[in-house]
Structure formats: structure tokens, C-alpha cells
Symmetry: C2
Subunit: 240 residues, 2 copies
Amino acid sequence: MIDKDSALPIYYQLEEYIKQLIATGELQSGDCLPSEREYAEQYGISRMTVRQAISNLVNEGYLYRQRGKGSFVSNKSNERSKGLLGFTEQMISIGAKPSSEVLSFKKVNVTEEVAKKLEITENAEAFEVKRLRLADDVPVTLEIGYFPEALFPELSKNVFQESFYAYAEETLENKIDYCSQIIKTDFVGKKDASKLDMKKNDPILRIERCTYLATGEPIEFVYSIYATSSYKLYTEMKRK
Amino acid sequence: MIDKDSALPIYYQLEEYIKQLIATGELQSGDCLPSEREYAEQYGISRMTVRQAISNLVNEGYLYRQRGKGSFVSNKSNERSKGLLGFTEQMISIGAKPSSEVLSFKKVNVTEEVAKKLEITENAEAFEVKRLRLADDVPVTLEIGYFPEALFPELSKNVFQESFYAYAEETLENKIDYCSQIIKTDFVGKKDASKLDMKKNDPILRIERCTYLATGEPIEFVYSIYATSSYKLYTEMKRK
DNA sequence: AAATAAGAGTGGTGTAAACAAAATTTTGTG
DNA sequence: CACAAAATTTTGTTTACACCACTCTTATTT
């Protein structure tokens, strides 16, 4: 269970072990975990190491603690969202087959608005990518994305046939951390309607999304429109 | 700066101190913090205590760490969203004056769908509240909310003139932790249109929101429609 | 029988120390 | 001067311990 000679940290091994118990149902919602001292004694490790494992799982929403009582499994721990996912990842997670049709790919000088969002100087270069994205071959969204040339000098059209998030996490040392979105409604125009198999003036979601690294550095800014007849937007927000 | 005799934990005092340095601009985006050992020595506290403070700030998105280099201030640390906010809190945070008009308030036996969302038995009792909510006296959303009678036996109409989230956090021991939302577009009906100062068939956002405690226990389920001509929905998602 | 006190168990906070791993700086050598 | 090795500095992991605050059960007292 716990291998002290492993290259992986002990607290990480314990984390994965507890996650697995939850996944298999051996630990159910509301169940009380063994106490920190019990874990420490059982595996011959320090209580602080156990605490680190449990603290991480609390931060990730799997567990919660109550002083004087114990640590417990959250009700939703096994069905909580996986957090921020790119379109490709999102489709896979709900069991749909994602695909992308790159409508255009070119290097441009960014507009004032995009420059501001990406925190780069106006007229700096960025890749502009227009994509139609499909779930199980049904078109659900049209996107125009901007990616700073300075961050992704090697960016190519191929990347957008696959998952950009996966590419970005490979290329950059720092992982993707979060995104912020502005959502409003609108009517679909004639051109976009035909691409999305909609009638003109059907309602759409218009979303502006900016994605950031843990450093706070923006890595993409995307305008998109969603046909919500075939797609429901799901978001989760954490308090404080 | 650090008061060892304070009732407040040392790590918490250090957290607040560092947050303040960021807020006042003494620590700017990308700046490197003093090392953990420096902090420990300077304030005569243990390095592990310093680590706890910094770890918490990393989790909250204020800082990020790089092994061998140091701890740094995130670019966005001073302008990150406050996370999940109720309508009242949200309006205050953007400087608008929130108000509520309670259209109806009664105890009902919940429908199958609501029972499922609130994880209570079908036909269990809950308070049903219909509200029109305004920002700076402009109507922006219509809500029908359900609140389990078992959790809030004392719930009264007055609560909904104010902020329900504030009431819930006072009443319950466990704090509100997160919410999940399903968002889609629709056209507004005749009745709702008049209440929201809209024309029939204007586009709206239809949102189903369920709010949970850290235990995973649902405390409210709300159907709402938003007139996004006067209101933009803002969400933030964290990765992993 | 009810109220109180004591004890045991839980997570919360804090210390001191050691070594590992990664990045940087200094030093030594050719 | 340029390059490599060594030392230093950083965060990362882990241990062992001590005491506090809170919750619950049990024993004692009233």
C-alpha cells in the first residue's frame, strides 16, 4: 500500500490510496475515515505526513474535517466535476466523441481588446484560430481563439485537430490553473447559423473565455458561441 | 506584525500580513517573497509554520512556488474573483445596489426533480420562494428557489429581503462551499417578460443552480432566468 | 434521575531538525 | 576567459514531539 522506498512521496501515495477507496465504494459518502494517528501508526509514518495527504484531499473536495470528531468523505466526492476542462477533455468525460474542424489558422496582430485580455502589447503577434467543434459529429460551438506567439512560437494547425490544453501543458512548464468566462445570450447570425445547423435568430450563448497559468499569465483568449439546444453548459464555483 | 500571544494562529497572521502587502502593492505581481527560512528567522517562528501560511496562499491563488527558486506573487492575485457569491453579494461587489421583491413564499411538498437535486425524499417539505431581483432597481432575474424545511425550520420571508447566503452561513455550522450550475438559452415567455421589462421571445439564460456545504449536503436548488441585456454572467473555473 | 466531572479520542497549531531535489552562485581549474 | 565542479540557497518531504480546543462517552457526584 505505502512504499517508503518509492520515488513518489508518501503523502501522495496515501492520497491516491484514499481516492481509490472512495472510487471503489469502500469509503462511502459521510463515512468517517480512520483517525490521523491511526493511519500514522498503521503505516509507520508520521502524523504530519498523514495530515498533508488529508489536507490535499480536503482542498480537492474529497473530504472534510471536523475538529474533535474526525475526517469524513464528502457526499459528492465521487461525482464532483473534474474542474476546468478544455472542450476535448469535456466531451471525453461525458462519453461523447469530440472532433474539430479548423476553419482558419493564421498569425495576426491582435486588436486592442485581445491585447488587453492576453496582457500583451497592442499589435503584438498572436495566432488566430477559427474552429468548429463537434460532439459525436453534431456541431455545438464556433470559436475564434487567440494564442500569444511569444508563448507558443511553434504552434501549428495540427495542435488544434487535437487538444490545445494537452499541448499547452506539455510545452509550458507551469500548468494551466483556471479560466474566467463572461456569458451572455444572443441571436445567431445567418452565416454562423448554417455552420451550426441552426435557423437564423435561434438563441445562442456568447462566451468570452480567458485561460491562465498559476502565475496568472494568460495563455488563450477565446470568443465562442454555443448552440445550447445540443449542449448544456455546466459550471461549478467554489466559495471564497 | 506577528503576535505569538494572539488568539489567532501564527500562520493565519502571516497569511493576512502577506495578503496586505499584496493589496497595498508592496509586493507586486511576479515579485519573489523572502524565503521560508528568512521569514522563520525574522519572526522567530518555525519554518513549518511559515510553510503553512504560504501553502494556504498558494491554494487561494495569491502565490505560486518554484522549487529551488522561491515563492512568487501571482499576476492576478489582487484581482481574482471572490469565488461563489450570492446575488446580493455579487451586486455589492460590483458596486450595484441589490434589492429583492418576494413574489411568493410558502411551504410545499417538493416535486421529484427538486427532491432529487436536494437529496431529500419525495414529497418532503421545503420552502418555495419566488423572487424578482433587481440591480440598481433594474430587474435582472426571476428565481424560484427550494430550501429544505429540515435544514431551515425557522426560515421566514424576511430572510429573502436580505441575503439568504448570509443567513445560511449564520444558521448552519458548516459553511457554504460550492455550487454547480447548468446553463442554457431560451426565449422569455409573456408573463416573465413583463416582470423583467422585456419583450416576449427576447433571449434569456435559464440556469439551474444547486448549492452545497463542504459536506456535500445540498442547501438550495434554484431555477432562474436572467435577462442578459442588463446582466452578464461571470464564472471562474479552476483546473483539476 | 439529573447534573457534573473526568477521561479519552479527535483534529488544530507549533517547534526543531534532518535530508532530498532543484536552481543559482561561487569557486577552481584548464 | 571559459568551462566544470563545488558550495549555497531555495522549496519539498518526513520525522517526532508537545500542547490546545473540541466532542463524546463514561464515571462520579449531587
